[in-house]
Assembly symmetry: C2
């Protein structure tokens, strides 16, 4: 979806169908002109991916490659792409979705089926990048659901209205079709996303949603595409500031960073997934020291990862450089649940208020 | 929870608090009689675990061990147990819960803290088995949430009523506190549990909940304790037959089997988790042949696992023995999503109706 324009769900479906059709029309046009059909596909090689300082996330460069029916090696790939586009056109027209796994099996019936799921995923990404749409917009869904959301947000799914405060203690689950839901009413001031469901349940139990008038998002580790899309949407459409609290280790840092700045692998869709204004709240190396948290020593693999992050353009801001250096210096990491050392309520009663005050005073 | 008796949530909390108190009282009584305090703990060694043919799940035998404060090696363990019991008593009295991870960190403040999470988990299981209660009843929760549920079941969580048909496309999430929810109204005839969320979403999209008047349960792989407890409760309290549809491989078989007959490791709580009347619907080796499904060859590790299962008492029924033999013979396995070969709707339009008819005609 282009973030500059707002289309209704029906309009977006129509756009997808038209773009998918145009793929076939390009080929037909070439044939009718007695030209060997070829398609131009933006390159997704590492040399064509760069970090855009203005946008603050990874984007694709201008380089494209071409897939020609005159090239024996590329014939099968074009065939697969056309079949997949046709399958997607059918999906979107019928307002259905399929998992990428299901599509892999459906392709058994095509003359140009895939040898592996990996192969069909790549063609799916080719379609995304050629059409400038996410695969979810083309009806293709990942297997896994997204995060859990708890708080006073009224969500519209078709004719259904769901209040994420009243969907149960485990909250409303972000489904892969998150782009089809509407935000009908929002009565919160901010979003606090946490890495573990353990912390999510702690926050629900301690009434954090009331105390901070926030949405609580339980990321369940690395955020699914649907979760990233949800976070971007609440940030841009509802103007809610987003704070992320993960484990204080390189993996927790990076779960936050992918939400903030996107990933290189998905450079072609980061414009709809990255939330550059989201803030990493903690657990920072500074928190580990200031709150005297129970820690584990950094393992070799943690140290290696921290050094990698230090060189990554997304970690260039001074804040990150300092925290990475500090963590390497103390040689320790801490989990977000380690605040329980001071009692179960401490994280909600003391840590979050102190951090939020710090953030919101500087804004 | 004892399945023969029905207690209200408040009564169950009172029972838990009293049982936890009694643990301390046993020690105080010993001391007041000038005896060296000791506690009797049912043994959880493999020689004390057996498959109960009547009950159709693993149970603990009669053997117990003793933990004595006169034994230097056991002093710390008893100390940990008493601290943990006290912590749980406090949790239950305050109607709170903590994750086992949080408890591990809370124990940092005790003089007898744990070296590893593993160590604290074992003491938690000791408490379960000594008191004859699940750790959830003692306020200790795992990190992860349970399955997703979609269908016409009205659930009561404290003052909140949630219809699992109206909680969103990803359904109602079973939280670790599932024993605290009430089933207020149920308008379905059966439960169909499936291994993957891909299949769950397919069923929601194809209106399987209407077609089969069923609850759809998305297991998300190996079923969490909360999921198993939910399935047992809908089976026994609401008299709903339960059908499980997983991948057609030893791992899919066993995900179903643990729901049906429980695990050896949790022999002491299987009475509240196992659902011996639940049925494995498929994907069977027979299905792979009859439906001519796309397959993968069995790997060595699959073959090994199938041979292990063949010797497991839970797989003694003729049905299982036949299916294991047949799978070994054809040397192939199939995923539940492989029905998509015949189109996305096939699994709901053809496979499920045929299998359900077969099951329900023989009942």
């Amino acid at each position: 979806m282009n973030d500059d324009e707002k289309f209704t769900l029906d309009e977006r479906r129509e756009i997808a169908v038209n773009k998918l059709k145009s793929l076939g029309e390009v080929i037909i046009e070439d044939v009718s002109k007695d030209k060997v059909p070829s398609l131009s596909v933006p390159s997704r090689g590492t040399s064509n991916i760069y970090y855009d300082k203005e946008k603050r996330y990874y984007v694709l460069g201008e380089r494209t490659g071409s897939r020609s029916l005159g090239n024996v090696k590329q014939v099968k790939k074009i065939g697969q792409m056309v079949y997949m586009a046709n399958f997607c056109k059918d999906l979107v027209s019928r307002q259905k979705t399929a998992t990428i796994r299901e599509m892999y099996y459906v392709s058994e019936g095509w003359g140009v089926d895939f040898n592996t799921q990996q192969e069909s995923n790549i063609v799916g990404e080719d379609l995304e990048v050629m059409l400038g749409m996410t695969r979810e917009e083309l009806g293709l869904m990942p297997e896994e659901d997204g995060a859990s959301v708890y708080g006073d947000l009224l969500i519209g799914e078709d004719d259904l209205e769901i209040n994420a405060l009243k969907a149960g203690k485990s909250g409303y689950t972000i489904s892969p079709t998150i782009d089809e839901v509407e935000f009908l009413e929002c009565n919160v001031d901010r979003v606090i996303a946490v890495e573990t469901m353990g912390m999510f349940h702690r926050m629900v139990q301690e009434n954090a949603y009331k105390k901070f008038n926030c949405l609580i998002v339980g990321l369940k580790g690395q955020a699914a595409r649907a979760t990233r899309r949800f976070i971007k949407r609440v940030n841009t459409e509802l103007n809610l500031p987003v704070y992320i609290c993960n484990d204080g280790d390189p993996w927790g840092f990076h779960i936050a960073q992918v939400i903030i700045s996107g990933s290189a692998k998905l450079a072609h869709v980061n414009h709809s997934l990255a939330t550059p204004d989201a803030k990493f709240m903690g657990v920072t190396a500074t928190d580990i020291i200031n709150y005297d948290l129970p820690t584990d020593p950094l393992k070799d693999v943690d140290v290696m990862r921290l050094k990698e992050l230090a060189k990554d353009p997304r970690y260039k801001p001074e804040f990150w450089q300092n925290e990475i250096k500090k963590m390497l210096k103390i040689g320790k990491k801490a989990e977000q649940q380690s605040f329980s050392k001071y009692g179960l309520e401490y994280v909600v009663d003391t840590y979050f208020p102190e951090k939020l005050e710090e953030f919101e005073k500087t804004e």
